[in-house]
């Protein structure tokens, strides 16, 4: 059981990188055969990543979301799944190269730094699983939102500079980028709302955590929750147009990364476990 897990751990960043390269190639060449191939490869990557989680879960006998790097891997997986869903709905996979490149990078870190062995003290119980899963899905949503905010700014910059190259021709249009950014932010916001509340409930119902509302990780999570909540509903806020929302979402990457660092810091509630 350990060997396939190890093999998949090494193969995943390579597969993500290959998929990203195919999307980038299709981006530049608009070749129909490459477009077909990239879809097949993404399916393979998603299945392989799912198998990796399944193997880890079967080794641990429970959720594999223990430690920062498996969590990063879970965020990568959720972000890719989430992007696939949104891209399918929008009928536009133009952002695939960027999304999968980021996925390859973070999965490389996760594969390199995540222990193959699953820690024996993996959290058990329904609330823990709900807390972990919703938080991961929320982080994925926020990451996808940030990526589409970045793409919005990239396309806008090209249009403002009157450059009509591949970026102009292949990225999703500004409206689609804005919609994907807000949808992803809303998804992340809802996931984080559930994750945070379940986490609080867990702490109060004897989950073994000592909840300190003034701790940096809790405050950081609340800031991220509010931040992306604002982005999610920015279309209804006068003066908070797509451009400002895109700048906020792109900058939200930093807020998200900082929040994850705080959550997994050795002195934090999650890190201490």
């Amino acid at each position: 059981m350990r060997e396939p897990l190890q093999l998949l751990q090494v193969a995943l960043p390579v597969l993500y990188a290959l998929a990203a390269a195919l999307y980038a190639f299709a981006f530049a060449s608009s070749d129909a055969r490459v477009a077909k191939l990239r879809r097949a490869l993404v399916v393979v990557v998603v299945l392989a990543h799912g198998a990796w989680f399944a193997l880890r879960a079967s080794l641990a006998g429970d959720t594999p979301l223990v430690g920062p790097w498996p969590t990063v891997s879970a965020v990568v997986y959720s972000a890719v799944l989430f992007w696939l869903l949104v891209a399918r709905e929008e009928r536009n996979a133009g952002s695939g190269g960027v999304v999968l490149s980021c996925a390859a990078l973070f999965q490389l870190l996760a594969s390199g730094l995540a222990p193959v062995e699953v820690l024996p003290d993996a959290p058990r119980g329904a609330l823990s699983i709900v807390h972990g899963l919703t938080s991961v899905v929320a982080a994925a949503g926020l990451a996808v939102s940030g990526l589409h905010g970045t793409l919005w700014l990239l396309l806008y910059r090209e249009m403002r500079g009157r450059r009509f190259g591949a970026t102009f021709g292949q990225l999703p249009d500004l409206e689609t980028c804005a919609r994907m950014m807000r949808r992803a932010a809303l998804f992340g916001f809802l996931g984080l709302t559930i994750g945070l509340n379940v986490g609080i409930a867990l702490a109060h119902t004897g989950g073994g955590w000592k909840l300190d509302y003034a701790s940096p990780e809790v405050l950081g999570s609340l800031v991220v929750w509010l931040y992306f909540g604002t982005i999610a509903f920015s279309a209804r806020i006068p003066g908070f147009g797509s451009r400002r929302a895109a700048i906020a979402a792109a900058a939200g990457f930093v807020a998200l990364a900082a929040s994850l660092l705080l959550v997994f810091a050795p002195w934090s509630m999650h890190g201490a476990r």
Binding site: R160, R162, F164, F168, D173, E175, T176, G239, G241, R243
Partner: protein
Amino acid sequence: MQAAPTLVLVGLSHRTAPVAVRERYVVATVDLPATLGALRGIDGVEEVLVLSTCNRTEALVSTTRPEAVALAVRTRLFRNAATDEVYEWHGAQALFHLLRVAAGLDSLVVGESEVLSQLKRAADVAREHGALGALLESLVARALHAGKRVRAETDLGQGTLSVARVGVDVARRALGHFANKRALVVGAGETGVLVARHLKGLGVQSLCFANRTAQRASEAAAEFGAEACGLDELRARIVACDLLVACVEGQSAVVERSHFNARALQRRDLPLVVLDLSVPRAVEAAVAEIGGNVLLYDLDDLSRVVAENLRDRSAAADAATPILVHEAHEFLGRRAYQQLAPVLGGLKGEFETLRDATLDTVAGAQVTPREVELAHELSKRLLHATLEHLKDGAKRLRPEDALEHEYRRFLERL
């Protein structure tokens, strides 16, 4: 004996001059008769045609003094233009150029078909004012025929085929779906209507025509179930629109910076896209400086978009070469044959005289009506065969393969 050397074409186009230069030399429809009159006044000009579109301003003349006339046309029509902005084609090169223009190969959007109607209209105006003679009449007819053939027989007639369409496609990159977008079209002329047609095809939510004459705006609006207004309502209309397309003919800027409400722009979700498809430009350049929520594009900007279109269509453009060369060959052959008209008239008379003399000498007074009929038929057939040989010979004066070589050399000079 060839007609082609008497053709001279002087002009500037999007290939040689940016829109800021082109707009200075546009000849508005109302000014066309006066311009034609002025050019006809040049010593040595026999016929003249002026084609002025958003892509080009060109004068095509037939003359017996090509060098002097070219210089005079350049001075009259393109005063103060830089030397490299104005081109000049003589003889067969002028013919090749006009055929390429009609085929849409020299257009900003390669293959666009608006140029055919623009050329037809230019010829109508020239004809109305007596500026068109036999040479330019037959040349324009040949060019229109070649233009239609190229579009029908090559892939040039497929895909995005007008500046209006390219502009709308650029707007789509910003605005996405048009189903929830409002568009304002300033100018209810041909381009404005074309833009409206594209927007309707994309399902735009609401459309409004703004025009100097409200009557024309209402007529155009009625065709699309759109609203209509005068230019005095621009400020209020711009606040409410997502896309503004200006296609106004022959006027200075009608859309000014003061028409834009900075506070309303700040409140927008997506940027306001402003397309200026007019030459001279109808939107003040200062509009681009309003801030981040306005994206302004003029024809020069769109020409960068169509660079891609040009690459895609290079194969189709190659396929058009044999058609254009054939049409040029036909035109030159016919022209050479027509120049033989006085000789042919004499030949016909000579045949008839010889026939009658032969009948008198050989048959004398005993000739029967049947024999006269046969003699007439024979002379007619001989004359026809001779004319066919002459026609063929006129075409051979410039063989098609030599003309193709000449055409390729012309392309290298573009």
